[in-house]
């Protein structure tokens, strides 16, 4: 024991004056922070993850949670985190696992972009009185239309449109697999997107049969592990998405621990119960862009060219060129996942250090596709760190067609972003397969909350567009003229193709 223990991250205390000794904290905490000893409830702060479940469920506001003050000798380089990571790895000799998104204190570009509004020279549009169009079509569009003359002398449209997904709002829910999250979480989100006329990704864990009623609003993911993939699965989805990479862990695969592979997960993923589900880093049939082209075509053939196929990549340094390559395949949309994207589990070093911000990725992908004249060949779906309607509006103004949200949808179901998803003990019933925990999330209530969130953002977006004198989402898309950069350096302004405030 040469290393000893490190100080607890959080300090939980019970206000004994307030506490009525009901024991709900004990029942609710799946991490075992609370226990009864005699007639007292005892806390063990070291086990706390700050998931806030106990506080949310305490009827008397008797529980206090504090981040434990750092009692290391202060040092600007050897921070608490740096020291504790060394200790953890010295102890284990392994990779440090982490959940949710990047925790680095980098500036958030979204917060340094400001939106525009009309004054005098053009009128703002009131969405309560005038039409406001957010309908978005995701998929391939022709670069121009061709007409032909019929024998009767009429002119008719010759160009045939490729299948597109019709979204009533440009907000979709990204891919979080059944396995990583619970069936009730999946059901909540699936109900919400069906009600709203938008879409949700299945993640790479297949589609549970209870989701079949919502299949017209589901996007079936095909990832490197091919879990749950057969032609029935592909045909159920409204669209198919090939997952190449993920913003939280670009360049590596995934690992669902055997403990999370319950009977239901096992059936849905088509793997033995209790076995680890390993997604390899590359698809073993994709070692080049030509191979990707073949898979896209293969999936299209399997579904008779009736479904759009998306390709999801992590936002890495060369994202623009990669997206341009994807645009030249038969793919209908490219999903770019920024480095703030969430995850159930990722090596900490990847989550915090690999990839680039989504804002920059949208800007450079849109620019590259336009330069090469292939912007209409694919839609751009942006994801990874979209926290609110302002981020949504800015993503679209930078050039995205729509966004995927992930963490925000989880928060709408109760998640408090404690970042311990990989442990399978989520007390909110989201990132867990333990039946008693899963049952805490009521799919009806979850659906209402997720739906409310998307409705709220949609209203915000309508108001922002109306204030900018815009009544159709097409005129917001790529409209970087309506953005200004605040305290962004010249290099970034150039990449974003945005003027500085005041200009």
């Amino acid at each position: 024991m040469t290393l000893g223990s490190v100080p607890p991250r959080y300090k939980i205390s019970i206000d004994r004056e307030q506490c009525m000794d009901c024991g709900r904290c004990i029942e609710n905490c799946s991490y075992g922070v609370f226990r009864r000893e005699g007639d007292r409830i005892i806390t063990e702060s070291r086990k706390c993850t700050a998931c806030m479940r106990c506080i949310a469920m305490c009827p008397r506001d008797a529980i206090n949670l504090k981040e434990n003050p750092v009692d290391y000798r202060s040092h600007p380089v050897w921070t608490r985190e740096a020291r504790e990571d060394v200790i953890r790895q010295a102890r284990s000799g392994k990779i440090i696992l982490s959940g949710m998104g990047n925790t680095q204190n980098h500036p958030i570009i979204f917060d340094r972009l400001l939106l525009d509004a009309c004054q005098v020279t053009n009128p703002s549009i009131d969405p309560l009185r005038e039409p406001m169009e957010l309908r978005t079509y995701i998929g391939k569009k022709p670069s121009r239309l061709q007409f032909k003359k019929t024998e009767a002398g009429d002119v008719e449209l010759e160009t045939k449109l490729a299948p597109n997904l019709r979204l009533e709002t440009p907000i979709m829910i990204g891919h979080m697999s059944f396995g990583a999250i619970s069936l009730n979480a999946h059901l909540s989100m699936a109900k919400a997107v069906s009600e709203l006329g938008t879409f949700m990704g299945t993640g790479e864990g297949g589609m549970h049969r209870k989701l079949y009623p919502y299949q017209n609003n589901l996007i079936a993911q095909v990832a490197s592990g091919r879990f749950g993939v057969n032609v029935d699965y592909l045909e159920r989805g409204a669209a198919i998405e090939i997952k190449i990479g993920q913003g939280a862990k670009p360049g590596i695969g995934g690992h669902l621990p055997g403990e999370k592979v319950s009977a239901e997960v096992s059936m849905t993923r088509m793997i033995p119960e209790g076995s680890d589900a390993i997604s390899p880093a590359p698809h073993h049939d994709i070692y080049s862009i030509e191979d990707l082209v073949q898979l896209v075509r293969g999936l299209k053939e399997a579904t008779e060219w009736k479904k759009p196929v998306f390709v999801k990549i992590a936002a890495v340094h060369n994202v623009a060129a990669i997206a341009a390559g994807i645009a030249r395949s038969s793919a209908d949309a490219v999903v770019i996942d920024g480095y703030r994207g969430g995850t159930g589990a990722a090596p900490k070093v990847f989550r915090d250090h690999v990839g680039i911000p989504i804002e920059v990725a949208i800007a450079s992908v849109d620019q590259k596709l336009r330069e090469q004249g292939v912007r209409n060949e694919v839609s751009i779906i942006a994801s990874g760190g979209i926290r609110n309607s302002a981020d949504l509006a800015k993503s679209i103004a930078l050039g995205a067609d729509a966004v995927y949200i992930g963490t925000a949808a989880l928060i709408a179901m109760g998640c408090r972003v404690c970042g311990n998803c990989y442990r399978g003990l989520c007390p909110w019933g989201i990132a867990t397969q333990r039946p008693d925990l899963v049952s805490r999330l009521n799919p009806e209530e979850g659906a209402r909350q997720v739906s409310n969130l998307i409705k709220g953002w949609t209203l915000d977006l309508s108001e922002l567009m109306g204030a900018a004198g815009i009544n159709s989402i097409e005129s917001m898309r790529g409209n970087r003229d309506r953005l200004r950069g605040f305290m962004l350096d010249e290099g970034l302004l150039e990449v974003l193709d945005v003027k500085t405030v005041g200009a």
């Binding site: 009128p123 039409p131 169009e133 569009k141 103004a397 004198g469 815009i470 005129s475 790529g478 003229d481």
Partner: protein, 350 residues
């Protein structure tokens, strides 16, 4: 606030510039004396097969030499001269307006330059983006733009527009907010045969600009109207859409309306919106566009700017104000206001 008026004579009888000047001047309240302009079609019958390039030069040395060099490399200058002007007390002559009658070499056409028009378009973009002190502001055949900073009467008298006779005229009286006092910022905006007058502000400019720049157009004139000319050139000339369909792309019906259309019409309108979403123009506008074969006027989809149409047996007028039309046609009977987004098209009789 700006004032616009356009007229087409369907029999191709030519009108001199006096009427249009009087009509535009009536709308002086819509301007601020910072810009006015005219365009007329059919004014250069002697050079009808040449591109009439109107250029503002800051001086006749370096910019002129560079433009000459570009033109001589790619074609023949059939004739060139200073555009005749008469000094006006209320108008400061800050540029030298010049005109070339230019024919591109046939052997320059090929590859991505599919036509003479493509070559001339590239010359215009090259000069306007690359040569300081030179601005091509008119580049069609048998037509010409005349514009400057000043009140409508002063600009008309300066360019002696009463001496030109055309079968289409557009005119514009400017209240600038973007670039006051700059001659290049006055309307009409032109590229090849397309000329645009515009009242309003295009809130989708950033989107439209990104879209046309992907096709080699360069927005150099610091004002939103320019992009309308390029959109018409791209959709009309390059993609071969009719004027009705261009307007359907630029000011499309709402989805609610499209959803209720009969299947074939629904498919067409959905295809236009999907394909040309980035060309959709938002914000308040009333626009009249002219080309060799006619004019088209339209407003934004919720009609945030006025547009009035007047028709006589042979002429179609489109204007910001009825009163302006009545200056030319006091007894006009058929006068109406079109619906939002509805294209008003004036063509020549067959």
């Amino acid at each position: 606030m700006c004032g616009i008026i356009g007229v087409i004579d369907r029999t191709k009888s030519r009108m001199d510039g006096s009427c249009i000047k009087a009509a535009l001047s009536l709308m002086n309240e819509r301007g601020s004396g910072d810009g006015a302009g005219y365009v007329a079609y059919g004014i250069y019958p002697d050079y009808a097969d040449c591109y009439a390039l109107h250029v503002f030069f800051d001086n006749m040395e370096e910019p002129k030499e560079k433009v000459d060099e570009i033109l001589q490399k790619q074609g023949t200058i059939v004739h060139q001269e200073e555009i005749p002007t008469t000094e006006q007390p209320g108008l400061k002559k800050v540029h030298i307006p010049w005109r070339y009658f230019f024919k591109p070499f046939k052997d320059q056409i090929g590859g991505s330059l599919g036509s003479e028009d493509d070559l001339v378009k590239d010359i215009v973009m090259e000069v306007n983006a690359g040569i300081k002190g030179a601005l091509v502001f008119s580049s069609g055949k048998n037509m010409g733009v005349f514009k400057a900073s000043g009140w409508p009467e002063d600009v008309a008298n300066f360019f002696r527009i009463e001496e030109y006779e055309g079968y289409i005229w557009l005119a514009h009286n400017r209240y600038p907010t973007n670039t006051p006092g700059w001659w290049g910022g006055a309307h009409p905006f032109n590229l090849l045969d397309w000329s645009v007058v515009h009242n309003g502000e295009i809130t989708s400019y950033g989107t439209n600009k990104r879209y046309v720049e992907g096709y080699g157009y360069k927005c150099t004139l610091l004002t939103d109207t320019e992009v309308v000319a390029y959109l018409f050139d791209l959709l009309g000339r390059k993609h071969g859409l009719s004027k009705e369909r261009i307007v359907k792309a630029l000011a499309p019906p709402f989805w609610d309306e499209i959803d209720r259309m009969p299947p074939a019409e629904e498919e067409l309108n959905r295809a236009i919106r999907l394909t040309y979403g980035s060309a959709l123009m938002n914000g308040p506008f009333a626009i009249v566009v002219a080309s060799t074969d006619g004019i088209v006027g339209f407003t934004d989809r919720i009609k945030l700017r006025p547009l009035v149409v007047g028709e006589t047996e042979n002429r179609l007028y489109i204007s910001s104000e009825e009163a302006a039309i009545r200056v030319i046609e006091p007894g006009i009977e058929n006068i109406y206001t079109p619906r939002a987004g509805e294209p008003i098209i004036g063509r020549f009789n067959e």
